[in-house]
Symmetry: C2
Subunit: 597 residues, 2 copies
């Protein structure tokens, strides 16, 4: 028997391409975790038992040579250590979300500023705390300190109070709590000195002179852990989709009179609900990998993250976008598996509860969208900084809009199915939203003399739209590049269909905006709808190849409705669907809508 074959792991060019550079590392970890009884899916434990199990899981994981190596690499900043850490986080969270969330934090020296929701608060010996550093009565801004919380026997030190936050919607294994410090004395060495330090004589020193710049530098340090959340959300999507799609290819309901009922994947509504999420999971795979590579390059070249503001914005936006997509995806997976999907046995509902917090932690998504736009506007201003903003706006009003429109206008019937058209459309949307936002804020602040907060607040819906438009554009571009680079011709054809589906979905969901801006004619808009329905239908068998290439061990899938036997829930078992014959299947199902790259 091949190693790992009992876990349902496979190997093909598509498996490797979807896993990327670190496919072998991921498989190694999958085999270890998939074969470890500690990671058997549990949902029948009390809060204390669940926390204790998670502690065991984390201890086991941190003891793995593979993980020790990764932590060593973090310390040494080995080349590509961030990308390697990210994929480890993804595999870990597929095995158990709480384990993925609890310890394996990448290079994040500080907890959030609220002092609430501190993970490991109920057992940890030390806490990293953000606090104002005050020297001789003068604040130097927030800094990060290491504060001893408990002694070796687990007793709290004097002045430290810990409050257990107890029951949450999910992630029961993570012991969140509140720590309160009352005149706790710590030695000056406990100040994490990346951004500033104090001499024995009490003098403050920092490379970064400006207080607000120092704060930005500290926030930039959150970037890798935000990207880690994106990888975890993707892991949850892949898991949920694998279960829902396998079930949809196995369960039968309704059908033509006097004939066998059809598989529910044949229902138009079922493909329409599941296939766009699958396309999105693929798109996010390549977009988040791209962000990881950029992060690694910057770190490798010794660049401070605070100087990579476009990258910070990209990561903030990807975190918001991916975690929202994950919520929608898992909700559809739950509904598409009916009452079966409501049973904890079948994993989807537990995943929903565990990952629901992603949309508000490591930076609330609505706040992160604003981070993205602040950066986009900064770029915009910089680009035109030699010219006063008024002339800029004037030139935009005079010609910009029409120029953009003309250069991108392509709503001919034959071209809406073309990837080039879709790429241009999302590009157009981002640019127009950006320019019009600049114009609106400028008018409010400069002409109407509104204070900046009110002006910004009254444009928040616009800000959110622009931010997502930016992330959509980058994600579609990265997906299309990944299709172009795919070395296997059949896999490339398959990925192209999903890439077209993803782009079509983006334009479809914003077609009102395109119609308002006369970028689409009413007829072209209706054609986009038909195209979406056709594409969803055309990829429903290919979907089996894609989820197989996600390569999730059977022990992590766990769900009886996905064909994983479990004697304790024999009533929920549905046999796993057979893969369609790979090569021939792919050939005969070439997309009707040929793409020009």
């Amino acid at each position: 028997m091949e190693p790992g074959s009992d876990l349902g792991l496979g190997d093909s060019p598509l498996h490797r391409y979807l896993d990327g550079e670190f496919w072998s590392l991921k498989n190694e970890l999958r085999r270890v975790l998939g074969g470890c009884p500690l990671f058997r899916h549990r949902y029948d434990l009390s809060l204390d038992e669940m926390r204790a199990l998670t502690f065991q899981r984390v201890t086991f994981t941190m003891g793995l040579p593979l993980l020790k190596r990764a932590i060593q690499e973090q310390a040494e900043k080995t080349k590509n250590f961030i990308s390697r850490s990210l994929v480890i986080g993804e595999v870990l969270s597929t095995a158990d979300m709480a384990t993925g969330v609890k310890e394996f934090v990448i290079n994040t020296p500080c907890e959030n500023a609220e002092k609430m929701y501190i993970g490991n608060a109920m057992y940890g010996n030390y806490a990293a705390v953000f606090a104002q550093l005050i020297i001789n009565g003068r604040s130097q801004g927030p800094h990060c300190f290491i504060v001893p919380v408990r002694d070796e026997d687990g007793n709290l030190y004097p002045g430290v109070t810990a409050i257990d936050m107890m029951y949450k919607e999910g992630l029961h294994g993570v012991d969140n709590g509140i720590l309160i410090f009352d005149k706790v004395r710590i030695p000056r060495e406990n100040l994490l000195d990346k951004f500033g330090s104090v001499t024995p004589e009490g003098q403050y020193h920092s490379r970064i002179k400006n207080k607000s710049a120092r704060f930005n530098a500290m926030l930039a340090a959150l970037t890798p852990s935000r990207l880690a959340v994106t990888f975890q959300a993707m892991g949850a999507m892949k898991l949920g989709l694998t279960i829902a799609i396998r079930y949809s290819h196995s369960r039968r309901q309704f059908g033509p009179k006097a004939k066998e009922e059809v598989k529910i994947i044949e229902h138009q509504t079922q493909t329409l609900r599941l296939m766009p999420h699958l396309a999105t999971a693929l798109a996010l795979t390549f977009a988040s990998r791209y962000a990881g590579v950029l992060l690694d390059e910057d770190v490798f070249h010794g660049k401070e993250l605070v100087d990579s503001r476009p990258l910070q914005a990209l990561v903030a936006g990807l975190k918001a976008y991916s975690t929202w997509e994950n919520i929608r995806c898992l909700q559809d997976c739950r509904e598409c598996t009916g009452g079966m999907g409501y049973m904890m046995e079948n994993r989807i509902s537990g995943l929903k509860c565990d990952t629901d917090v992603f949309v508000t932690f490591e930076g609330d998504n609505v706040v992160l969208l604003q981070v993205v736009v602040r950066e986009l506007l900064a770029q915009y201003t910089k680009q035109y900084e030699e010219r006063p903003i008024t002339s800029l706006l004037q030139s935009w009003a005079e010609s910009g809009g029409d120029k953009l429109r003309t250069s991108f206008l392509a709503f001919n019937m034959d071209t809406v199915g073309n990837l080039t058209f879709l790429l241009k459309a999302v590009n157009f949307r981002e640019r127009v939203l950006q320019r019009s936002l600049v114009a609106r804020i400028y008018y409010k602040v400069m002409t109407k003399k509104e204070d900046f907060f009110s002006a910004w607040n009254s444009c928040l819906h616009h800000v959110a739209s622009l931010s997502l438009a930016h992330i959509h554009r980058v994600t579609l571009e990265q997906f299309s590049l990944a299709v172009r680079r795919c070395p296997d011709q059949e896999d490339q054809a398959l990925l192209m269909k999903f890439c077209l589906l993803y782009g079509t979905r983006l334009v479809f969901q914003e077609r009102a905006w395109y119609l308002e801006h006369k970028y689409l004619t009413p007829r072209a808009s209706m054609r986009i709808r038909t195209q979406l329905l056709d594409l969803c239908d055309s990829v429903k068998d290919d979907a089996l190849r894609v989820i197989s290439a996600f390569n999730i061990p059977h022990t992590s899938l766990h769900a009886p409705i996905a064909g994983i036997t479990n004697p304790l829930a024999a009533w929920a078992f549905y046999p796993a669907p057979l893969l369609p014959p790979a090569r021939e299947g792919a050939r005969s199902r070439r997309p009707k809508l040929e793409a020009k790259l």
Copy 2:
């Protein structure tokens, strides 16, 4: 102290109008449940403990004189007994969703045909089972039987197997299970004889001669319990919105430089996410009440539910629409309360888990949407039955479309904010979708000779759109009628703002369709967006009056972030916001967009 004042219950014309005819009954039940320690919010129990507590809660509830009366009324079919039962179900599920779901089932003689998910399977003594009735080898179609499952000591009878389905996403107090019967003998009296009976000599008799008509009659019996789910979903929405809106009026974050931070309800994104849900909760209040009244009228006049097919369709559609709206609403409430909303203490996440199953039980929502459309098409065909369908379609193609358009066309700038415009718009959409669906199916079946299943399946997206368009139209109409009938002038003005918001939201979310059909110009469409943002902003203080009039006892609210003190979670406490001065507040905030009814 007034009775109930410690529970935070109030009384005003608005309280009574929102509660409707049975406001006093609802208050009585709220006081009893709100004051009963059994109904204290618990989420810290094991599955067995939670089931036992739910059993106690159900026993307590069924012993209440008020409930005994309601059950007696069901048996006697007293006038309006359905509407009374529905509001009892709503209040019960606000106190505890599992209690609301578990026993208080209205007039539903039969469990679903899957034999799975049978509530009370692990403790009940009897089960109502749907099975084929076979007499002398000939099937008479599915009938409902009462099967004894356990003896008085709780031991299973021979031939009966019960499988516990154990852990679900929520509703832990409901003990779902699977019952398997192997040659269990039951006396013929155990056949529920509403639709058919068997004589002692083994002869079958039924008033309804046609087998498929008998099946339809049995499905019609599900109508009241589907409407009950709508009331429960509404209860959950009101609870979630009350908590999220109180918190949003209390918690502060961000603000103009060097000034106090603003309440988060001031953030444009926060009102845009919460206010449309509040408007929808109000709209559903009146639409579901209307359906209850129709049901009561039919029953009072001795009409069989199976003959009220438009009503069955309305209830099926309302169930699908309200339960989906509830999911979206609670998700936004969870996100708008950040990490706090993720804590079980604050109720929202538990409500989400409990009510998630609503979208797939008592009829999967996607299936119910098809029930709605089958009825709409039947009505359509009936209306034209004297004329052959071809001439009908021809006449539609020739003139129908344009006639509809002309009579409803109203996209002048000043009128999009007008309720009449909004009502006409949703009407137009329903009719056009209906006619075009008829044309598409006719073409596929008659011209292209596709089998009906394939034709229908390839139009499922269209079917779902039409079904929801129908429910949107009815719901907006009922809301506008309720505004017109509101006896208090100030309350009427307040409700009118929310009614406009609801209608605006409906048109906004389908504006792509209206643009495609040239019912909106691009400029009018943009104006709808502005109108939506303005209305959301303009009602954010009125929202406090509305949630106060939902009249939910503090013990049911429970959440510290909603200002309910709890010494066990003092860290989560946010003081309750003050109500704005009622009368003056209402007067000064008259809608800018005057409505013509």
